[in-house]
C-alpha cells in the first residue's frame, strides 16, 4: 500500500488547491493521519474510495475529538550586556497566547477489496462555537450515517449534507453536547458509600460535615 505521503502527493496533483497536511502519530502504532481541509473533503473522500490503487470502500469508524482552547506559555531568553562590564544578564520573558480550540472528526478507512488499511483522515472545524460545520461524508460512505449523528449528538459538529442529522443517543429535547471537555453535567449528586476524586468534592458540597466539636486527635489519621 502507498504511504500517506504518496497519497497526499497524488491528491495534491489531482486537487491542487486542497488543504492537506500529514499529522504524525509518535506512538508505537504510528498511525499517521491526513488532515483534510473542509472545502474539498467530499471530493477527496470520493477519490479515496474510487481510486483503483486505494479502493477505500469501508469506513470503519467515525469519531470526534474536542480540543479546547489551550494556553501556551512561550519563554524567550535574551542576554543583556551589563553596562558596568560585568557578566551579561540573562533575562527570561514569558509570553502567553491562547491557541484557539476546535473540534475534530476522525475517519478510519479500510479497503475490503484490496485488504489494506487503515487510512485515517481528519477534518477540523474553525472553532468550537459558531464555525462547527463540516461536510458530511455519509454520501461517500453510507456507514458514516449513524456515527456522524453520534458525533453531532455528543460533540456538536454539524454535518452539512447529512441525510438525517438528529440526536441519536440523547433524547431530542436534550441541551448540550456531553462529550465536550467543558460540558457541565447536571448537579444531581446522590449519596454514594465510597466517594472519591470529583465525586468526593460533590459529596462534600451536598452533604456538609456536621460541625463537630474539636475532639483531641480528630485530625489524626
Amino acid at each position: 500500500m502507498e504511504s500517506l505521503e504518496q497519497i497526499r502527493d497524488r491528491l495534491l496533483s489531482r486537487y491542487p488547491g486542497a488543504e492537506l497536511s500529514i499529522l504524525n502519530n509518535p506512538s508505537p502504532s504510528a498511525q499517521h493521519s491526513l488532515v483534510v481541509g473542509g472545502s474539498a473533503a467530499r471530493e477527496i473522500a470520493a477519490f479515496l474510495r474510487d481510486d483503483p490503487a486505494l479502493q477505500l470502500d469501508f469506513c470503519s469508524n467515525v469519531t470526534g475529538v474536542d480540543w479546547p482552547d489551550k494556553e501556551i506559555v512561550e519563554t524567550t531568553r535574551t542576554t543583556i550586556p551589563d553596562p558596568a562590564g560585568g557578566p551579561p544578564k540573562l533575562v527570561e520573558q514569558k509570553t502567553k497566547r491562547i491557541q484557539p480550540g476546535y473540534l475534530e472528526v476522525v475517519y478510519h478507512l479500510y479497503s475490503m477489496a484490496l485488504k489494506q488499511g487503515p487510512v485515517i483522515i481528519r477534518m477540523r472545524t474553525g472553532n468550537r462555537t459558531d464555525q462547527v460545520t463540516l461536510p458530511s461524508l455519509t454520501p461517500v460512505w453510507r456507514s458514516g450515517e449513524f456515527q456522524e449523528r453520534e458525533v453531532f449528538d455528543l460533540f456538536g459538529v454539524v454535518f452539512d449534507g447529512h441525510p438525517d442529522l438528529r440526536r441519536i443517543l440523547m433524547w431530542d429535547e436534550f441541551k448540550g453536547h456531553p462529550m465536550r471537555k467543558d460540558y457541565v453535567e447536571p448537579d444531581d449528586y446522590e449519596w454514594e458509600p465510597t466517594p472519591h476524586d470529583e465525586v468526593l468534592a460533590k459529596a462534600k458540597a451536598h452533604y456538609p460535615a456536621p460541625a463537630a466539636p474539636a475532639a483531641p486527635g480528630a485530625n489524626a489519621k
Partner: protein, 216 residues
C-alpha cells in the same frame, strides 16, 4: 360462655400436618389463591443490558427457571406478571420502562436485577443513567450483583414467591389489585433539557436522609 370461647382458635401447622397425614387437606381460599399466583409468575420478555444475559441463562436448561413456574416469558406486557428490570436504565429508556409497567395488568411485581437497576451502579454519577428504577415504579425484590448470577435471580424469584404467599386478601396490606384506592397507574416521565421531568415519582420514592458520620 366467655368471649374467648367464641373466637375460633386457629389451627396450628402441627395440627394441619397431622390432618394431612390422615388424608385431609385443609386450606384457606387465601392460601390457595396465593399458592396458585406464586407458582405461575410469568415474566416479561424484556432485557436491558448484561444482566439480561444472566436472565436468559436462568431461563435455559442449565438453571431452568421453569422449576419455579416462571418459564413463560411473555413478549407482551398485557400477559406478564413480573417485570425483571435487568440492566442499566438510561434516562432515555426510563419512560419506556414505566410505560411497559403501566401496560402490565395487576397483579404485577417488579424485580430490580443488578446494581444498575437498583441504584445506577457504576454509572450512578453519570449524566445519562437513571439512579435506580425504584424512583418511578415500586420494586418488590432487589437483587444485588454486577451482574447477579442466575442462582441469585432464582433466589430473588423465590423471595418474591414468599412475598406473594404472605400477602393478605383483605385489609390495608392487601396487594394493589385488591385495593380500591390504588389507581395502578404511574406517571410516565417526560424528557427535559438535562434530566427527566419529574426526576422522581414522589409517591413511590423519597430521597433518603443521609446522616454523614463524624469522621468521613
Amino acid at each position: 360462655m366467655t368471649d374467648s370461647a367464641n373466637t375460633p382458635t386457629p389451627l396450628s401447622d402441627a395440627d394441619r400436618d397431622e390432618l394431612r397425614r390422615q388424608g385431609i387437606l385443609l386450606t384457606s381460599l387465601e392460601e390457595l389463591y396465593n399458592w396458585g399466583r406464586s407458582h405461575s409468575v410469568w415474566p416479561l420478555q424484556f432485557g436491558l443490558a448484561c444482566c439480561a444475559i444472566e436472565m436468559i441463562a436462568a431461563s435455559m436448561a442449565r438453571f431452568d427457571i421453569a422449576r419455579f413456574g416462571s418459564e413463560v416469558f411473555r413478549p407482551s406486557p398485557r400477559q406478564a406478571d413480573l417485570l425483571i428490570v435487568s440492566g442499566t436504565v438510561t434516562k432515555k429508556m426510563a419512560p419506556q420502562v414505566v410505560r411497559l409497567w403501566n401496560q402490565m395488568p395487576e397483579p404485577k411485581y417488579c424485580i430490580a436485577m443488578g446494581a444498575c437497576a437498583i441504584s445506577g451502579g457504576p454509572f450512578k454519577q453519570g449524566y445519562n443513567v437513571l439512579k435506580g428504577i425504584d424512583r418511578y415504579i415500586p420494586v418488590d425484590v432487589y437483587i444485588p450483583g454486577c451482574p447477579p448470577r442466575p442462582e441469585a435471580l432464582l433466589n430473588g424469584l423465590m423471595t418474591l414467591q414468599e412475598k406473594i404467599r404472605g400477602q393478605k386478601l383483605t385489609g390495608p396490606n392487601a396487594p394493589r389489585h385488591l385495593r380500591a384506592d390504588d389507581a395502578c397507574e404511574y406517571p410516565v416521565p417526560e424528557f427535559g433539557e438535562t434530566d427527566l421531568v419529574p426526576p422522581t415519582n414522589p409517591e413511590v420514592w423519597q430521597p433518603p436522609t443521609i446522616v454523614r458520620p463524624d469522621k468521613p
